[in-house]
């Protein structure tokens, strides 16, 4: 076999596993958590926090979805999906027992190993909390290996908040600070109102000993990075999950190219240092 053939073969999408829907739980009015279990004899693959799968809804299409469950829970995979289009609508309307094709997991992961011995700052916006939840699970599972865990979460309104019960539980843990804010709050909302960057006024960050992990809309991440940089945290300790138009998941189709990177293959998690030149480029 020639070198070119070997390279091509290594870029070929991995085979699809068939999984079955175990449950679909409503998180908010438009967002659902889908639990998949093995569809046959083949177990579902293990994953690292921050990775994603390609989920195939038979007869509808394939789409990339971040894994949102606990990486230590074997046998099941969790995906939190916002129903915004034909494929996602079909996905969240599957019934228990129905089959789904799963490829992956794909991509890079949050630096949970490298962050041991440090403070972990998690900043999430909207559904961006979903890909960060596995990292939070991992930190909590090995709690003594980390110093402080700080979670800052922004959502559009109280009814858009994900995992409300879990956020409240995490906030009660020792050395864990969880602050949530919403862009628009009604009179019954007793929490913070304002964009997620406003929460930085209520936390003290250690400039040398903090690793930051951020996921949310790209504009939000740019403002969040500014706040983090103001507090002296180096760019190499700031990690972002990038969102781009991903189709093949193996760096073959080029849809998700961002400068020299394919987000599906080289990402989706990057250091801010690596992403900085490309973040503010138009039409990239």
């Amino acid at each position: 076999m020639s070198v070119a053939a070997v390279q091509f073969e290594s870029a070929m999408p991995p085979p699809m596993t068939t999984a079955r829907v175990a449950s679909v739980v409503k998180e908010t009015y438009d967002t659902f958590t889908l639990t998949l279990e093995p569809g046959g004899g083949e177990p579902l693959p293990a994953f690292s926090p921050g990775q994603f799968s390609m989920l195939y809804v038979f007869g509808v299409g394939e789409l990339p979805i971040s894994i949102s469950g606990d990486p230590n829970e074997s046998g099941r995979l969790y995906y939190t999906v916002r129903s915004v289009g034909k494929a996602t609508h079909a996905l969240v309307n599957l019934k228990p027992g129905q089959a789904v094709g799963v490829r992956g997991p794909f991509g890079t992961s949050w630096p949970v190993e490298a962050a041991r011995g440090r403070d972990v700052l998690i900043v999430a916006g909207g559904i961006g909390l979903a890909p960060l939840r596995p990292a939070i699970h991992e930190v909590l599972r090995h709690r003594d290996d980390y110093v402080r865990l700080i979670v800052l979460y922004g959502a559009r309104s109280p009814r858009d908040q994900l995992y409300r019960k879990q956020l409240a539980e995490w906030g009660r843990l020792a050395d864990t600070q969880v602050l949530s804010t919403v862009d628009y709050g009604g009179v019954n909302w007793r929490g913070y109102v304002g964009v997620v960057t406003t929460l930085f006024r209520y936390v003290r960050l250690h400039p040398v000993g903090t690793t930051a992990m951020i996921c949310g809309p790209e504009i939000m991440m740019r403002y969040v990075v500014r706040e983090i940089e103001k507090r002296g945290i180096p760019r190499e300790q700031i990690y972002l999950s990038m969102e781009r138009n991903m189709k093949c998941a193996v760096g073959l189709c080029g849809h998700c190219q961002m400068g020299p990177y394919f987000v599906c293959k080289d990402g989706p998690i990057f250091t801010y240092e690596a992403m900085r030149p490309w973040l503010e480029k138009h039409e990239l």
Partner: protein, 160 residues
């Protein structure tokens, strides 16, 4: 709160970070300690309230009222400022301030702050620079809020 404690509290408040000691002392000369209970209104929309506040603890919601509804637009808490428009010479409040969690704050009469700035232009300049930072931060936050960042996006992207 005795003078020593008051100076210490002021020095530790983010609004006064980097201020010269004589400017901190000047602000201490105007400061009054105040407390507000949960659900109390600190000021209402349209009020000619002339007080500027540095919040030491608690949480306050800024709300806009419209016929039949109240929209909560922002919350401010410990280490933040409230009522910056009181330093200007005219106009009523655009928002109402409702206490969500019991508040301990230092209050400053806007007229006395303006007077202090006239007597000591360097203090006035430094104070207004600090105030402008507050206004700029609020404006920036409001602009980002208007972007409606978390609105659903359609298309073939990775659905974070």
């Amino acid at each position: 709160m005795d003078t020593k404690t008051l100076l210490e509290v002021l020095r530790n408040h983010p609004f006064l970070q980097g201020m010269k000691p004589e400017h901190v002392t000047r602000m201490a000369g105007i400061a009054q300690e105040v407390q507000f209970a949960k659900d109390q209104m600190i000021f209402r929309q349209g009020d000619e309230s002339g007080f500027f506040y540095l919040i030491l603890s608690g949480k306050v919601a800024l709300e806009a009222t419209a016929p039949g509804r109240i929209l909560r637009v922002q919350t401010v808490g410990a280490g933040e400022e409230l009522g910056w428009s009181s330093v200007l010479t005219e106009g009523g409040k655009y928002f109402q301030a409702r206490v969500l969690e019991p508040v301990q704050a230092l209050t400053f009469d806007g007229a006395r702050l303006r007077q202090a700035g006239q007597e000591d232009p360097l203090f006035g300049y430094v104070f207004l620079q600090k105030l402008l930072q507050v206004v700029a931060r609020r404006l920036q936050a409001t602009r980002v809020q208007l972007l409606d960042l978390y609105a659903p996006m359609h298309g073939g992207s990775k659905l974070i």
